[in-house]
Amino acid sequence: MLKIEGLTKKYGGRPALSDVSLSLGPGEIIGLFGENGAGKTTLIKSILQLTPYSGSITLDGEKITRRNIARLSFATSEHSFFPDLSPAGHADFYREHFAAFREKRFEGLMDFFALPMHRRPRSFSAGQQNQFEIILALCQGADYILMDEPFAGNDIFNREDFYKLLAGILEPSETVLLSTHLIEEISGFVGRAVMLHRGKLIDDVQVSELEERGISLIDHVKEAYDYRGDRVSKALDSITGGE
């Protein structure tokens, strides 16, 4: 269980996260939503101990340190692979440093996406780089896979493939926290939706609950963010003078 309690983070006095508390259980697939600047990336980076924060983040009751941080993996749109190390070299590196590295999964995914094993990722296309980034996160052998906008730059077919693959290959012990703006696309894939707004946790809901109530995830998100559908027409009216 990954437990976040009272997480607060400020950037130069400006709060990025305010008193966020959240628990991620084994086997969950969680969508993390929020507008730009809501604190999604800060939340993920805090979990990964990449940024200082106040509050507590524990993994099965223990603080996250070098001893247990390999249980977390990370795929980011910024990319975290070594740009000059071939995928084969990455496999060697991960095998050496992550005891639970999933060799078979790595080979299978590389093969599926037809990524070259002996070329430098620097020379990959943007889409291929994203694929490789996600493959590494999935194959590290982590229990908690954190993804921050991993599909930025991938086409819809690629993304669809990934959702299907993810649903198929994840083991019951693997938890995914997926930060994305592509709410409609992942609504059939995530089991839980966590929403941040201006650094605050505003909602945490099971998708099955929404289904029972007959509400789609996107409608629920719009409701949670108090989205006013008429604001565009009002703005257009004021700009054009209602012509």
């Binding site: 101990q49 390999a70 980011t76 740009p83 990455h90 620097r122 590494l136």
Partner: protein
């Protein structure tokens, strides 16, 4: 336990024999983007591809060897000057035969005094090593944030070993060369200066070897 292999002294995927080191863009060293390399430093439309052909193979490994060679060359010059300073006035030459005559009562200048600043070239090597280390650290945050992976691996030393390993190796090589050059100088000093001319103080001021001292001292 630290696993020190040659490839572990560099960032993963980093090739010290393929990278180009001395292409500066602003304060960053940019060796990966040929477009960026050509932009900004040369006249508009200027092309450095010919120069690249000649100097582009100057790799980090090759640069290290070159820096060490320059260090040896400069140090040998300073050590020769130090020896000349020590024995200046030891002999008189007879006219017109040119025969050397040892000046009675001459005492050579102490080694500690003459050698001051003779290995100051080490600072050139130090600057090179700091640049290398900086490039290695930058590798983990440029192009991609592979630093995130390095922070998730078990060993806290791995990142620093890969960034500082090679520069420290170069520095160690430079220090060994220092020791070797001083040993040779010391042997030469004792062999070539007659025993009665040796000063009482034959100690060497080690920090003084690396200090910057005025060249005027050689003329004093």
């Amino acid at each position: 336990m630290l696993d020190i292999r040659w490839d572990k002294l560099f960032p993963p995927g980093y090739h010290p024999t393929k990278k180009k080191l001395f292409y500066m863009k602003g304060i960053l060293i940019d060796y990966d983007d040929p477009e960026a390399r050509n932009r900004g430093f040369f006249e508009v439309g200027g092309d450095i591809s010919d120069e690249e052909k000649a100097f582009g193979h100057l790799t980090e490994l090759g640069s290290a060897v070159m820096v060490l060679c320059i260090f040896i060359f400069v140090s040998v010059l300073w050590l020769s000057a130090a020896y000349n300073l020590a024995v200046r006035g030891m002999y008189s030459r007879l006219y017109p035969s040119g025969e050397k005559l040892l000046n009675e009562g001459f005492i050579a200048k102490p080694m500690g005094f003459c050698l001051q600043g003779s290995l100051r070239g080490i600072w050139f090597v130090v600057v090179f090593c700091i640049t290398c280390a900086l490039i290695h650290y930058l590798y983990f945050v440029r192009s991609s944030k592979s630093i995130f992976v390095m922070k998730r691996i078990g060993s806290p030393f791995e990142l620093h070993l890969r960034c500082l390993g090679f520069p420290l190796l170069v520095l160690a090589a430079a220090l060994m060369l220092c020791a070797l050059m001083i040993l040779i100088f010391r042997a030469y000093y004792f062999v070539h200066i007659p025993e009665q001319c040796l000063p009482q103080d034959t100690s060497i001021d080690v920090p003084g070897l690396f200090r910057f001292v005025s060249a005027d001292r050689l003329l004093s």
